[in-house]
Amino acid sequence: MKRNNFIAVLAAAFVTMMFAIYAAFIFAPEEQTMGIVQRIFYFHIALAWVPYLAFLIVCIASILYLTKRETKWDQLAAGSAEIGVVFDTLVLITGPFWARVAWGYYWTWEPRLTTSLIVWLLYIAYILLRRSVGEHDKRARFAAVFGIVAFVSVPINFMAIRWWRTIHPLILKSTGMELSANMRVAMFASIIAFTVLYILFLQLRVAVENSNEELEKLKDEIGS
């Protein structure tokens, strides 16, 4: 990990996050029907975007690993999957808080929520699979295949509110977004801030994988 690169991303994450918080709490007007709890939406939607991106990276990196057999792609997939699960966990936490106030209950087995839980469980299984296989090449191969297959759940999750009858709000419609200009600014500010945070975490996580590999080599050297 290049130090200057890391500091630049850290600074960008701080600045964009400060602006996102300002935009979500001060810049965006209060929504008339739901009131203050609607402000969860700015972070919730941004948090939901990151796992989509993270799992897409897992899928692409897995394909690249299977075709090129380079460890860096396996490391990228491993890091991205873990970060995706962290952000997906936050989606599953923030959503029910909003739902309790808006719908009157935390959870319901409707298509978007159910598929979100399935996506989350699939990528937890991906992480568990990585931990359960000891041999490096075998683990990377199994994980790559799983990472590609599991990605099928992501577009299903995204389209769930379009394909099936659901009570989950639909913000991004084919006709446009039902948001005022200031609300859009707050939403995009949050999306940018959390994307930069994802890049920052990914740099750290790949650095962990690199160090781990160095450690494995040293262990082999001592063992031989």
Partner: protein, 50 residues
Amino acid sequence: MDDMGFRFMVMAYFAVWIVLFGYVFFIGSKIFKIQKDIQHLTEVVQKKSK
């Protein structure tokens, strides 16, 4: 509803930052532990080569 909305919004944002800081701490401690192990094993390899 607004009082309840405010409480739930605060709880949601609080949960987000707790989890994110927790994750940063988790990665940080992982890097620290691995670096320590690498340092130790490097010393062992150097001693062995002597």
